[in-house]
Symmetry: C2
Subunit: 348 residues, 2 copies
């Protein structure tokens, strides 16, 4: 109910995703009359969607702390409780990110051993598969070294289950690739992550820079939620600027309009390749349950992509796999922490 | 001497810039035999370049601390001393950024009242002028609230003298535009900057997000050097990825190749519009003297852009103006700091 385009975009996305994944069944949370009327207009959803009435809506302006205290009657709360109670295999929301993460923490709870859950996004790159995972892109504005280690483990697990990469290459986002660069917590995290590659079944490529996000040199980019959020939005904004400039360039002369017409097929393929709606869906990692956060402004195509991603993760038993991975890596991580602590002369 | 393409790209850039600014005279620092041979091949440089021999070179791998201790004989040191002694109006270097900033700090010294100098870059956006200023993009990995205020003052001054904006719109980079978002130092800086708009002659637009860097909603984007460096490189990397994808798309079929040929004029104009070499030149702000850091991999066009920027700033008396601005804003800033300290209940 709380996305920028309201319930209509969500119901349209449900219908679209059903065309790709015919085995889906939806629990739709929100205003019964509004949802019933939207669903009635889509015959393909008949028998595929159950409405769970919820009176309240979390708006984009609501503060997470208020929603945590007074949000019991909202569609967001109802959605997460369906996952909590095992009635739903995964949750998808276009709503307020901060509130969704805060509610997810109290309703689903963190996985054992996880300090800070994270939001992971997909980033277009030069690899054949076409994407890298970046996390955290906004669950928490800070992360210390053990948090960054957990992001590496969770990101690698997501890359295996979401992208099918058997041994993902993990990198730590920094302002340079030299060992002495960056903040203290990043240099400390470097040691922790390097020591956890076997337990986490990933390769560690070292520090990576902003230019490496799309370079294809790394599959999982680890960073704190402040930096990750700004990198994500900078990349999106830059891509949009160039797209707009490109459209202007093609419209500027008759000759260029004709040229664009001839190249239309190739340009459409390019657009498809970098279409942000294709990679729509920030995945919340580190919780007892799968939550996919769709872009607030997502249209039917975007919502559908988020639903399909949620389905893929649910079908792979992702939460259980991640839980097992974190548990088995905890011992190795603990060893590494002790070592790194000694090496850096810290007490931790 | 220390750029990725060596002295040849620098000498080529000097020749190119002379075509745009015929009044230039160069002091070129480095290996006399190498520079003499390169300059001899360019008749347009005859009588326009004086070689200042320096035996040593600061490499990209050298640590700033080592260069500060043992770098006296290098071309970088010699370049900065020419500004220090008043023999040069501005310095341009393609070398090691960290070493250049460290040497600039000890040879040129910080302006009175400046705590952390910053590096400012230009960022393509949707405005008619075509650029925003972002700082810090890598002088220092951290910045507290008073530093961010100084960045706002310095960035506004640069936008006035470098871009000709009489009253720049300043924004503070954050993970959301709501007042409660972000780290403590950013929320504190918000109050300081909002209180300094009259003294600094700028408008404060509030928090901006990564997507606002190219949006045209803001002329000066203030952030710490860690975040700014990652945003800059992410934007550059994304632009490069899309450019490469676009080239592939145009080469993919005969029809699209023909289309590209027809649209060539418009595409060239687009390329020019987003060409990173046009905005080449990170300006060091907050020092007694103008230093422009060109991209390490800059070619003749890039070096020429950096030289022209240095000339424009030197001609505007930028350092003196900035110095006066910082001094006059110091009192207002001090008032604002006291107020903000009281408001936030901090002791500062």
């Amino acid at each position: 109910m709380g996305g920028d385009r309201g319930a209509a975009a969500v119901v349209a996305g449900m219908a679209d995703s059903l065309a790709h994944c015919p085995d889906l069944h939806f629990l739709v949370h929100g205003s019964e009359p509004e949802l019933a009327s939207l669903i009635a207009k889509r015959p393909e959803l008949a028998g595929r969607a159950t409405i769970c009435h919820a009176e309240g809506v979390v708006t984009m302006e609501d503060k997470p702390s208020q929603v945590m205290r007074h949000g019991q009657a909202t569609s967001m709360w109802s959605t997460l409780d369906a996952v909590r109670d095992g009635r739903a295999a995964a949750a998808v929301s276009c709503g307020n990110t901060g509130a969704l993460m805060a509610l997810s923490m109290i309703r689903l709870r963190k996985l054992p051993g996880i300090n800070r859950p994270a939001i992971a996004c997909l980033w277009p790159n030069r690899t054949a598969r076409g994407f890298a995972v970046m996390l955290d892109v906004g669950a928490d504005i800070k992360a210390d070294a053990p948090d960054l280690l957990q992001y590496a483990l969770m990101g690698a697990s997501y890359a295996r289950n979401g992208l099918g990469l058997s041994r993902p290459r993990v990198g730590l986002l920094n302002v340079g690739t030299e060992e002495h660069k960056g903040r203290a917590e990043i240099r400390e995290a470097q040691d922790l992550i390097a020591a956890a590659t076997e337990a986490g079944t990933f390769d560690y490529v070292g520090f990576v820079e902003g230019s490496d996000l799309p370079s294809g040199r790394v599959d999982v980019i680890v960073t704190d939620g402040f930096t990750g959020n700004i990198a994500l939005k900078t990349g999106e904004g830059t891509a949009k600027l160039i797209g707009d400039f490109l459209r202007e360039a093609f419209n500027s002369t008759l000759l260029s309009r004709l040229g664009a017409l001839l190249a239309l097929g190739s340009l459409r393929a390019l657009q498809q390749r970098i279409d942000p709606r294709r990679v729509n869906g920030g995945v919340f990692l580190g919780l007892n349950g799968t939550v996919v956060k769709s872009h607030g402004s997502a249209d039917a195509t975007g919502v559908s992509a988020a639903i399909q991603l949620a389905r893929r993760l649910a079908a792979s038993g992702f939460t259980e796999r991640l839980k097992a991975r974190v548990a088995s890596a905890a011992a190795a991580g603990q060893d590494a922490r002790t070592e790194a602590g000694e090496k850096n002369g810290t007490a931790e």
